[in-house]
């Protein structure tokens, strides 16, 4: 093996240790990925084979019936997927707008209300009203239940992402650019949207990624605020199916006969197939975006 930079090679470990490390990480890495294969192989196994021999990593009998079922029920799946995509895109755009505008404002040293704003943003980091109070605000005071806004607005901003933006703007956007734009007669809104934003792609990508994955993965807001079936996202669809199945398991004698209930439920391979539908877009994209999640924390931790 060719030696790398001198500093690295001096610090290098023995070959035998390296092999041990490789084995350890190989095991850990496989542990992180293999559940995906478990779920996938259930989704392509014949339901009868599942009943007879349980789950197996290599399906006893292949079957595409779960995916065929999803295709036949595509109205439901596509509607949920559409909701997921809509919430993710709309939410991410709103989140970026709210975070960067506030981040820009508090990064301006001359702003009169800077001190007040800094506290305003800091306090929610250490104190919040709690889950119940947030629920009351969204549900009882704003009346957002069963609207798409209940999925978007509560997650649209955070002190954390505003702080990331502020730190980024303060450290990378030179004051001279802003001053010269001001001399040219540009207002603050134009400076923010046409000068600061175009040169701040790294931070926009970072907070955008946090927001997008947060929205795509959210099921909690939906479970609190959404009962309307038309507003289900993929995550809440998955959540609701599981909830109904557990309800049956726990109340075997509740009203209808068990058989009737069971017949109306998606089979296990179908449920696993829905899970795959959710996972695949993430599993295919996260390796490209992974670095932004780290840079978010490292930017955010820089103190003034």
């Amino acid at each position: 093996m060719a030696k790398e930079e001198s500093g690295q090679s001096l610090n290098q470990i023995k070959k035998s240790t390296n092999i041990v490390f490789n084995i350890v990480f190989l095991i850990l890495a496989v542990m992180c990925v293999i559940p995906l294969l478990f779920v996938f192989s259930i989704s392509i196994t014949d339901e009868e084979a599942l009943r007879v021999s349980g789950y197996q990593l290599i399906p006893a009998q292949l079957s595409g019936s779960a995916y065929k079922f999803l295709w036949n029920e595509r109205g439901m799946i596509l509607r949920a997927a559409f909701m997921s995509i809509l919430v993710t895109i709309l939410g991410t755009i709103i989140a970026i707008a709210l975070d960067t505008s506030m981040g820009y404002v508090v990064s301006r040293r001359n702003f009169r209300l800077k001190k007040l704003y800094t506290w305003l943003i800091f306090i929610p980091m250490v104190f919040n009203g709690g889950m119940l109070a947030s629920y009351v605000v969204v549900n009882n005071i704003l009346g957002l239940s069963n609207t798409i806004w209940a999925l978007i607005l509560p997650l649209a901003c955070s002190s954390f992402s505003v702080t990331i933006c502020r730190t980024f703007f303060r450290t990378t956007v030179p004051d001279s650019i802003i001053e010269s734009a001001k001399i040219d007669g540009a207002g603050q809104f134009r400076i923010w949207s046409q000068i600061v934003m175009p040169i701040s792609k790294p931070v926009i990508a970072t907070i955008g990624m946090f927001a997008a994955f947060g929205y795509w993965n959210d099921w909690f807001q939906a479970s609190l605020y959404i009962q309307d079936k038309n507003l289900q996202t993929l995550q809440s669809l998955l959540n609701n199916i599981q909830k109904n199945i557990e309800y049956i398991a726990n109340n075997p004698y509740g009203g209808l006969s068990l058989q009737q209930y069971k017949a109306s439920m998606p089979t296990e391979s179908v449920r696993m197939a829905i899970a795959i539908v959710i996972i695949v877009p993430i599993a295919c994209t996260y390796p490209f975006f992974q670095k932004y999640f780290i840079s978010g924390l490292t930017i955010g931790s820089v103190k003034e």
């Binding site: 889950m131 599981q242 992974q290």
Partner: protein, 327 residues
């Protein structure tokens, strides 16, 4: 006017009152920040007034008024809602579960992340290390609903993979979702599993930022691997470590709701005392018909404790090492 010292830069000492020093720039910046300001007031500050609910016996008032009207016209309960919560059977159990799980999570996750980062940084095959990092990062991007499907595939008693292995080896099936004794380990394992990729890569980022000449100098002076780790690598990751520690301490009264609620299958009765935390208790109370004041008391207690611990952790760090405090 003549003795004005500063013209800008937050010169609060200047003679003019603030509204006269207010410039067009300030107006524009204020307008630009207005949407976010409203967001903070609505979604962060308005809930803080939810504290009132905890001191009231909320009742619907005649006349079909809104929530706030009903709340303000409900009678005061003093600390009644709190004493109800503190003396209920659940309180000690919830406190114990929430704190013990969090302590276990913090210690184990931090050790795995730091240990893993040290190992990854010293690996010879950099490309292999990148592949491992990416693979280990995957669970971080899965929601707990999806993870609960993974767990279900492994643990469901009749068909699950694990019982399949146990029975093929001649063992008895285990009814996983009804046996509380396994769950602390399962939950700790899953929490570590989900966060380890993120933790390792985070620490690795600060390790790779270390100037290699430091190691060169150390080797010249005859430092061993262990000494290098102790005197160069660990000090370099200390700021991130302390920041994470303070943030984690702030969450010690909170729990990752999805982990406790989804993964256990919505907390079946047999697991109730093992896996319930403040969050699952409050969530269930919201979904049930429990008086809102009592739920608010539990919720408010949790929020106050979180605030207390984060300030305390920051204070301890500032006493020990003032440079690394985050506030």
């Amino acid at each position: 006017m003549g003795n004005r010292k500063t013209t800008d830069g937050g010169g609060s000492k200047s003679g003019k009152p603030w509204w006269k020093r207010w410039s067009r720039d300030d107006t524009e910046l204020f307008l630009l920040s207005l949407p976010t300001l409203l967001w903070f007031l609505t979604f962060s500050y308005l809930p803080m007034f939810g504290i009132i609910i905890a001191f009231k016996n909320y009742r619907l008032q005649p006349g079909g008024h809104g929530f706030i009207y009903n709340l303000l016209h409900s009678e005061w309960a003093g600390f009644g809602n709190f004493s109800y919560f503190f003396t209920s059977n659940s309180f000690t159990m919830l406190l114990r579960n929430t704190i013990l799980y969090n302590i276990a999570f913090i210690i184990i996750s931090a050790s795995v992340a730091v240990g893993g980062a040290l190992m990854l940084s010293s690996m010879r095959n950099k490309r292999g290390s990148k592949v491992y990092q990416t693979m280990m990062f995957l669970p971080y991007f899965m929601s707990w609903v999806v993870v609960s499907y993974f767990v279900y595939a492994l643990l469901t008693p009749e068909r699950g993979y694990i019982n399949g292995i146990i029975t093929s080896l001649g063992g008895e099936r285990i009814m996983w979702y009804q046996e509380p004794k396994y769950w602390p380990f399962i939950l700790i394992f899953l929490n570590t599993w989900k966060g380890m990729g993120y933790g390792m890569v985070l620490y690795l980022a600060s390790i790779t930022g270390i100037d290699p000449s430091l190691y060169e100098a150390a080797v010249m002076d005859g430092a061993t691997k262990k000494q290098q780790a102790k005197h160069i690598t660990l000090p370099a990751i200390k700021p991130v470590f302390i920041m994470m520690l303070i943030l984690d301490c702030g969450k010690i009264f909170n729990s990752d709701f999805g982990l406790f609620y989804q993964v256990t299958g919505r907390i079946p009765a047999s697991l109730y005392t093992t896996v319930s935390t403040f969050d699952t208790y409050i969530y269930n109370a919201i979904q049930s018909t429990a008086p809102i004041g009592q739920t608010a008391a539990a919720s408010f207690f949790q929020a106050i404790c979180s605030c207390g611990t984060i300030l305390f952790a920051n204070w301890v760090v500032s006493k020990l090492d003032n440079e690394n405090r985050i506030i």
